[in-house]
């Protein structure tokens, strides 16, 4: 049981929009184990963004429960969720979401700042993370001095620097050309090989192909959950 990183049970999320109530998730039950590489797919409106927000502890469910690494996190306060995000989750966004005025090094250091790590250790760990994604020569550059692929590598380094339980990527190649996309997916594959649990939210089948398991959502419910035969084979 200890290798269950994520376990959600009848997870539901309801939004109130004016007089209307929208059920974005209608009771989803799913388990993700340590060192799994999962792709979450679905058309827009399927609830995959909502699911990602809940998994990433950016939002709390209106029904059901969510255990992350053995801890029930579905009823936590804002600040407790912030702590969970800081320690357990590494985000990689479609639009990179780097701080534009800060250097690559500073961007990578940021999660450690909020973790209360001393400045010397912060620097050491950030340098290590940037070296791991092959950006040791770009550390003092600002995001606008980096290419799209390099920016996404900085974001990956930032996601990894706190050694999170899961790497949560939301359309990580959505703003990249196909060559760069392949590079990024190669980084993900390497990380997975090193034992990192990875969840990629995407609507592109070519990206989902890299995962070893594909979960498809539709209308806020689990549509299919299949091992990726190509990878498995």
């Amino acid at each position: 049981m200890s290798d269950r990183i994520i376990h959600v049970e009848t997870l539901a999320r309801e939004y109130v929009m004016g007089a209307e109530r929208v059920l974005a998730l209608r009771g989803l039950t799913l388990t993700i184990r340590r060192n799994e590489y999962v792709a979450i797919m679905g058309p827009s409106g399927s609830g995959k963004s909502t699911f990602m927000n809940l998994i990433g502890c950016l939002d709390t469910p209106s029904g059901g429960s969510y255990w992350l690494n053995g801890q029930e996190v579905s009823r936590l306060s804002d600040d407790a969720l912030a702590r969970v995000r800081n320690k357990e989750i590494g985000f990689v966004f479609q639009t990179f979401n780097l701080l534009p005025r800060a250097t690559a090094l500073h961007n990578v250091e940021l999660p450690l700042v909020y973790a209360g790590v001393s400045s010397r250790e912060r620097r050491e760990r950030a340098v290590k993370a940037l070296t791991r994604v092959g950006l040791e020569h770009r550390m003092t550059h600002k995001p606008n001095e980096l290419s799209g692929g390099q920016r996404q590598r900085v974001a990956i380094a930032r996601a990894l620097v706190n050694e999170p339980s899961i790497l949560l990527a939301d359309e990580p190649t959505g703003n990249l050309d196909s060559t760069t996309s392949e590079e990024i997916m190669k980084v993900f594959a390497e990380l997975h090989a090193e034992g990192q649990t990875i969840i990629v939210v995407t609507h592109e089948p070519s990206i989902a192909e890299h995962a070893e398991r594909v979960v498809v959502l539709r209308d806020g419910l689990l549509h299919s959950d299949t091992p990726n035969t190509r990878v498995a084979a």
Binding site: N53, L58, D59, D79, A82, F91, N97, V113, Y114, A115
Partner: protein
């Protein structure tokens, strides 16, 4: 959130947006400038009034016995003025009475003065303060002699027509020649110059070197003192304590001599340097009291401007806030970041205010006779108040930032 990082970020914002920062900080800047400059000028005035004005005109540890106050820095009503005019004058006998009976060790000098014209070789020096007094006067007023000598008690007793002149008269009337031994005409009578006083400079731009001192009993006395009447008796003691003792004694002696009953007020005046400054002290007190109000107004305005700037910053940087929250920033981290940023902005404004305030004080010093002295405490208060304004102004925008929902914030713009 380390304080240092937030401070650095705020400084970076100021440097990258110089003009915008200048306008957002101008309120605080003006407030602090005002604080520093006014405190400097008022304190400078205090020093000036005490050192220069009162101590030079009246003298250190010195007081005067007069019919009415000699120096008025406050307002005098006409009624008071008329009451003063009804008082008996100070006679020679009054002066001798005090000098003989005073137990406290003190030096006294009878004193009369008026504006007279001095003539030499057909040249005139008009509006010269001609003083008739005793040799002790030079000690009492700290008048140093540059060349020659002062007159002696014997010359006073005999009424010898000799003069000690101020440095400006020496220069103007004799055009560079040595004034010593020259004979000057006053009201048609000859006076021999026996001494020249050292240069005393100016007070409020008025020369203090246009004077001539003659023995009290010299012939021109009738032009400067009405018969048997003195302008004042000057009394100097060795230190402030003795001066106050001598003042009390003189008051008692005069009351006895004039037969005043206990309920009657003094019909004479005793004035020392601090007494002469009473009016000024009132003015300076009003200025120092009104100052916080004036400063507060511009600081409130400055605070509101900073609050608006910070609200704009929060709106512009919603996404950054979202990113920080996604990476684990707690509410108080975001709150602290923006409060520190606001305080830094405002402190920078206050520091510039201190600089311009000091600059203004120095300008006043350079172009007026006032020695504006920058008070160190006012710098501390200025910077501290500036920082406080920034913190207070930053709380509301910062709490708005802290309340933002991470998902909405991440989706911004």
């Amino acid at each position: 959130m380390p304080v240092f990082e937030a401070v650095r970020m705020a400084l970076r914002t100021i440097v990258s947006q110089k003009l915008k920062s200048f306008f957002s900080l101008i309120g605080v800047l003006i407030g602090v400038t005002f604080l520093i400059a006014v405190v400097s000028i008022v304190q400078g005035m205090n020093v000036y009034m005490e050192d220069q004005f009162a101590n030079r005109l009246i003298g250190l540890n010195t007081f005067t016995l007069r019919r009415q106050p000699g120096i008025n820095t406050g307002n005098t009503t006409e009624e008071t003025w008329r009451a003063w005019q009804r008082r008996p004058r100070i006679s020679y006998a009054d002066a001798d009475y005090i000098t003989e009976r005073l137990q406290t060790p003190a030096v006294t000098a009878k004193y009369c003065s008026d504006r007279m014209t001095l003539m030499y070789n057909g040249k005139q020096a008009k509006d010269i303060e001609l003083m008739g007094t005793e040799p002790s006067y030079f000690e009492i007023k700290n008048v140093d002699i540059a060349s020659g000598r002062i007159f002696t008690p014997q010359e006073v007793r005999a009424g010898v027509p000799v003069l000690v002149v101020g440095s400006e008269i020496g220069e103007k009337l004799f055009e560079g020649q040595d004034p010593l031994g020259k004979v000057v005409m006053i009201a048609g009578l000859p006076y021999r110059v026996i001494g020249v006083a050292a240069k005393r400079g100016t007070l409020f731009g008025i020369s203090l070197d246009k004077f001539a001192v003659m023995p009290f009993r010299a012939p021109a006395r009738r032009y400067i003192c009405p018969l048997n009447v003195l302008d004042e008796l000057e009394i100097k003691a060795a230190n402030p304590t003795l001066m106050l003792a001598a003042m009390g004694e003189t008051e008692a002696l005069m009351r006895t001599r004039r037969g005043l009953r206990p309920e009657q007020e003094n019909n004479f005046d005793l004035q020392n340097a601090s007494g002469a400054l009473e009016g000024w002290k009132k003015i300076s007190k009003v200025l120092i009291t009104a100052l916080p109000l004036l400063v507060a107004v511009s600081l409130v305005v400055g605070g509101i401007v900073i609050m608006n700037i910070m609200l704009m910053a929060v709106a512009e940087r919603t996404r950054e806030i979202g990113i920080r929250k996604a990476l684990g920033a707690k509410r108080r981290d975001i709150l602290a970041q923006f409060v520190i940023e606001s305080a830094t902005l405002s402190t920078v404004g206050a520091m510039f205010g201190v600089a311009t305030g000091i600059g203004l004080a120095y300008l006043v010093r350079a172009f007026t006779p006032l020695p504006a002295a920058v008070a160190p405490w006012s710098i501390g208060v200025g910077v501290g108040v500036g920082m406080l304004v920034g913190m207070v102004a930053g709380v509301y925008p910062a709490s708005r930032a802290a309340q933002l929902d991470p998902i909405t914030a991440l989706r911004a713009e």
